[in-house]
Every structure is written in structure tokens, then in C-alpha cells.
């Protein structure tokens, strides 16, 4: 009974009379959560790597291939019209989901990685020269580091890195000092996948915009944890992946401010991105098609639309309060284990918990937990600079979504005690 009461914590949405998430019902929507692994009920805590999919998304994909499949934007026949309509409807859902002004600002990519690379190679190629600077942070995913390093190699520009403190928070005073007339772009992660830190993006945008510097936000981790409003954030680019927000793999989004996208050269050449092709001169299509060369991931895009429908049907108010409850519960449980040290204790945090166990390498932790049916991520999480900063070779990471439960965290803790006992 006390447990029930504890779960009834504040929920911000006044339109939501029932303020507690019905996790059991939610879990029924995700077929894979009922799977058994190595003889145990699956405890899936690797959501930051990729989320699981609700039945509505899975069914949507098979319905597309069974009844709606054709190429888009090119056929006069019935199915092509149907597929085109579904594809563009998904674009509209994405626009509303992140509150972009126009569908011209929504470009479909293969994922966050491709979205960042798109900006680096088009915006970058056009605006960045020798002596210029690009600013990233010490907690970036490799996909928001390497494209900029490549650009710097090609142009002679320099990459600057905002340092973090021992909690895993950005040092904004240092950031302030780095901004200059040489800065051509700031590329920053919204929520760190290895630390869980939620970065103050509005503030960062405000500081950069004061010097007319555009900001790209890596939203790979943030879109599934809370509602995103790109206009309120004020950022110029926002990148995310479908597979981390209940959607299919191979689909992602680049949001870009229309005026910037308009001025950027195309990314890849091919079909769909052109208006008229001749060997003398080729003219490009309008936004957003200018950046979508070739047959896109049609099924994935439509599936992403269904994932958005699902998230909205649950509601971010409930999602956020449930996930905060899980985060607090996990923090308390893990800090009560003397051999466990948390890596990443930012004051603003999403439901991602990285930790190390004294004298035990993360890889061993991962193997042993897996035998108990518990899926976590171990390693450097594609953020090697973060590992270097905290002087750990690797961490174990449990990342929670709204379909996770306190009981699953109890299983995690039990598993960790098993590891500690084995290595005693």
C-alpha cells in the first residue's frame, strides 16, 4: 500500500485526471517485454541504446508492406499515392511532435548520425574555413564529434571542447569564454547517453545566439523522455533517431531552421532532390526534398509516425513522472551499495544510470547480469572522452523508459549483489 502511495507523485499535466501511469497495461503493448532470456523474465534496461517497440508500430510496418507498399513521389497509380500520403503524414506528425514551424524544416535521414553528418558536410562545407572554430562538449557521443573532426581536417578549422565538472555537468563559464567571432557552430548533446545529464540547451542557445552563432542539438536521447519544442529551445538544428523513441531502426530526423536549410548546398545527389536535370545545369528541388535524395526509408518513416502516435497517447506528463520515480528509486538503491560508484550525478538528469563496481570490470558485470535476463549496456557507450575524464575504462549503464518498473530495478540490484559476491 505504501508503495502505491509513493508512486503517486506530482504530475504536471492538469488535463490528465489519472495521474499515474498504468505500467502493466503499457507493458502489454510491448510484445518483447514478455520474453524470457536465459530462463528468466527479460529485464530490458538498455533503452538508451535502442528502445523496444509497441505492437502498434510493429503492426504498422507489416500493414504497410502487406497493403500499402509502393515508391513515393513518382507514381500516378493508387498505391504510390497512398504511400506518398502516409509518408508525408508522418512528416506532419514529426513537425507537430517537435513543434517546428513548417514541414519544410523536417528532413528524414537514416538517424542522428546521418543528420549530424548532413549538417557537417553541407552547412560546414559552405561556412567553415581555416582558422574557424566549432564547439562541442566533452560529453558528446562519437557521432557528434567525428563528423566535426573530419570537417576540421578538411577545412583547417579547430574543434573546441566545453569541459565538464565532476558531476558530469557542462561548465558554462568556460563555454562563455570560448565563444568568439571565429566560432561557426556549437554542436551539443541535449541528454548525455552515458551520464544522463540534461544540458541547459535554452541557455546555451541564448549565449551562442548573442554572438550570432547557430546551435545544433543532438536530441537522440531527449525525444523519448520529454516533449520537445524546437521553437522554445531556439536551436537551429535538432537531430534524432527513430529507434530510440519506439520507432524502427534506419530512420531519423534533421530539423533545421528554414532560412539556414535554404542557403545550404544539397547533401547527396540523386532522384527526388532535383527539379530539373540536364548536363548543362541541374536545379534542385524545394525543401525538404532537396535533402532527401533517392528512395527513402518509407516504411521506417511511417513507423516513426506510429511511434509518435503512441508516445502522445501515453502523454509526456505521465512518462516524465514515472521515469523520475524510477531514476530516484535506482539512485537510492545503487548508492546504498558500498561497492558501487555512480558516474554522472548531474542535478538535472534523465533516467540513465551509469556506474562502476569496485574491482569488477563492466564487461564482467554485463555478462553476469545477462545470465539473469537483465540487459544493460557495458563499455564506453561511444563516449570515450567521457570515460577518460572520469578515468574509468568502461561503465555499466542501466537506462529506463516508462515501461520499466521498480521490480526491475530490484532485480538489477539483486544481480549486482550477485556480481559482488562472485568477485569477493
Amino acid at each position: 500500500m505504501e508503495d502505491l502511495l509513493q508512486e503517486r507523485i506530482v504530475v504536471g499535466d492538469p488535463h490528465c485526471p489519472l495521474d499515474v501511469l498504468d505500467v502493466d497495461r503499457i507493458r502489454d503493448d510491448f510484445p518483447i517485454l514478455h520474453k524470457r532470456v536465459h530462463g528468466n523474465r527479460l529485464v530490458y534496461l538498455d533503452n538508451a541504446a535502442s528502445s523496444q517497440k509497441p505492437a502498434s508500430v510493429i503492426k504498422g510496418l507489416s500493414t504497410y508492406y502487406e497493403m500499402q507498399n509502393a515508391n513515393i513521389h513518382r507514381g500516378v497509380h493508387y498505391l504510390s499515392g497512398l504511400a506518398t500520403g502516409l509518408y508525408e503524414e508522418a512528416r506532419n506528425k514529426v513537425r507537430k511532435f517537435i513543434n517546428a514551424r513548417s514541414e519544410k524544416e523536417i528532413i528524414f535521414t537514416a538517424g542522428t548520425t546521418e543528420a549530424v553528418n548532413l549538417v557537417a558536410s553541407t552547412y560546414g562545407r559552405k561556412h567553415v574555413q581555416e582558422g574557424d572554430e566549432i564547439i562541442v562538449s566533452a560529453m558528446e557521443h562519437h557521432s557528434n564529434i567525428v563528423p566535426w573532426q573530419l570537417l576540421c581536417e578538411q577545412t583547417g578549422a579547430t574543434l573546441k571542447v566545453i569541459p565538464i565538472n565532476e558531476r558530469g555537468e557542462l561548465q558554462l563559464d568556460e563555454f562563455e569564454k570560448m565563444l568568439s567571432s571565429r566560432t561557426k557552430l556549437v554542436a551539443i548533446v541535449h541528454i548525455s547517453n552515458s551520464l544522463g545529464t540534461i544540458n541547459p540547451v535554452e541557455k546555451i542557445v541564448e549565449m551562442a545566439h548573442a554572438k550570432d552563432i547557430p546551435v545544433l542539438v543532438d536530441g537522440a536521447q531527449s525525444v523519448v523522455h520529454g516533449s520537445i519544442d524546437v521553437q522554445a529551445l531556439g536551436c537551429d538544428f535538432f537531430a534524432f533517431s527513430g529507434h530510440k523513441m519506439l520507432g524502427p531502426t534506419g530512420i531519423g530526423v534533421l530539423y533545421g531552421r528554414e532560412s539556414l536549410l535554404d542557403a545550404m548546398p544539397p547533401y547527396q545527389g540523386g532522384g527526388d532532390m532535383i527539379r530539373y536535370v540536364s548536363f548543362d545545369k541541374t536545379t534542385y528541388n524545394d525543401l525538404p526534398y532537396k535533402f532527401e535524395a533517392g528512395t527513402p526509408n518509407i516504411a521506417g518513416t511511417i513507423g516513426l509516425g506510429y511511434a509518435i502516435d503512441y508516445l502522445e497517447s501515453v502523454g509526456f506528463a505521465k512518462i516524465e513522472s514515472h521515469e523520475m520515480m524510477l531514476l530516484n528509486y535506482a539512485h537510492e538503491a545503487l548508492t546504498s551499495i558500498p561497492q558501487v560508484r555512480l558516474i554522472g550525478t548531474a542535478r538535472q538528469k534523465a533516467s540513465v544510470v551509469s556506474f562502476v563496481i569496485d574491482e569488477v570490470h563492466a564487461h564482467d558485470v554485463g555478462t553476469i547480469l545477462d545470465q539473469n535476463g537483465i540487459a544493460i549496456r557495458t563499455g564506453h557507450h561511444c563516449t570515450q572522452p567521457v570515460m577518460d575524464w572520469f578515468e574509468v575504462p568502461a561503465t555499466s549503464r542501466a537506462s529506463f523508459l516508462f515501461y520499466n518498473t521498480k521490480e526491475e530495478i530490484d532485480r538489477l540490484v539483486e544481480g549486482i549483489y550477485g556480481v559482488i559476491n562472485l568477485f569477493k
Binding site: H361, A362, H363, I368, H380, M387, P393, A394, G418, F423
Partner: protein, 151 residues
């Protein structure tokens, strides 16, 4: 504790992990190499002294999981007094231990200390951890001094 896990984390392996043998620098090394397993971040520096075609001393340093550390530790205890060709032969035996079919019986007499790694066969994701030290010693002895990667 599941039997597969017990088999993987045998007491011998846990002991080598806790108190690795030859975890040291070799000041007058004639051969060395760095091993790196990008998947888990295991980093291993291996140094050897070879006199008259025989390994006379060997030491390793670095960080890694229990499997890779124990494997490096056991390896260093087995190769002293051996020629590079004999080390290659041991490496081959080791590979057969960690990659043979789970159903194949292990000949404990013939394989000796290497047999403790037979549990790795149940864990394909850990084969690279177990093999890192051996790949690295092979690279060192064959004068391939660039970082060895398991990828």
C-alpha cells in the same frame, strides 16, 4: 549461480584476475606490443625479453575484464622458456579451447592450464576478451608493433 557462469568464472580465473602473474614492466624488453579491444575498452601492454630465440621474461600491464586479465596472466606463465614457434603452437591450442564446439570434450591433460578457459565457449561475446593477450603476444613476437585490435 548458473553452471555456465561458474564454468566461465572459475576460481582459477578469479584468482588470476585478482592477483595477476607477471603484472609488471620489463625494463630491457626486446619485443613489445599493445592490444586493444574496442568493444569493452580492454587495453593491454605486453613486453618480452627474448634471448637466443627463447622468451626469458614477459610482463603485461593495462586494464581489462576478468577474462582478459586472467588470460594474459596465464599466458605469461606459460610462455617463459618457449621459442616463438612454440608460443604460436600454444596460441593455436588456446584458440581451439575457446572456440571449439561446446559439445566437444576438453582434453584436460593435454591442454593443462589452458583448459580453464573452456567456459568461454558458452559466451561468444567474450571470446575476444580471452584471445586479446594471445593476439598481442603473437604481434609482439612477430615484430608487428602496431596496436593489435581484436576487431
Amino acid at each position: 549461480m548458473k553452471p555456465e557462469l561458474r564454468e566461465l568464472y572459475q576460481q582459477v580465473i578469479l584468482d588470476h584476475n585478482k592477483n595477476p602473474k607477471n603484472f609488471k614492466e620489463i625494463p630491457e624488453a626486446t619485443h613489445q606490443s599493445d592490444g586493444y579491444n574496442p568493444l569493452c575498452g580492454d587495453k593491454l601492454h605486453l613486453a618480452l625479453k627474448v634471448d637466443d630465440g627463447v622468451v626469458t621474461d614477459v610482463g603485461f600491464q593495462g586494464s581489462g575484464c576478468a577474462i582478459s586479465k586472467a588470460s594474459a596472466s596465464v599466458m605469461t606463465t606459460m610462455i617463459k622458456g618457449k621459442t616463438p614457434a612454440e608460443v604460436d603452437e600454444l596460441f593455436k591450442q588456446f584458440q581451439s579451447v575457446i572456440t571449439s564446439s561446446v559439445k566437444d570434450a576438453i582434453d584436460y591433460d593435454e591442454l593443462g592450464k589452458l583448459a580453464v578457459f573452456a567456459g568461454v565457449r558458452e559466451f561468444p561475446a567474450r571470446v575476444k576478451c580471452a584471445a586479446l593477450a594471445w593476439h598481442t603476444v603473437s604481434a609482439a613476437l612477430h615484430e608487428n608493433s602496431e596496436t593489435t585490435s581484436t576487431e
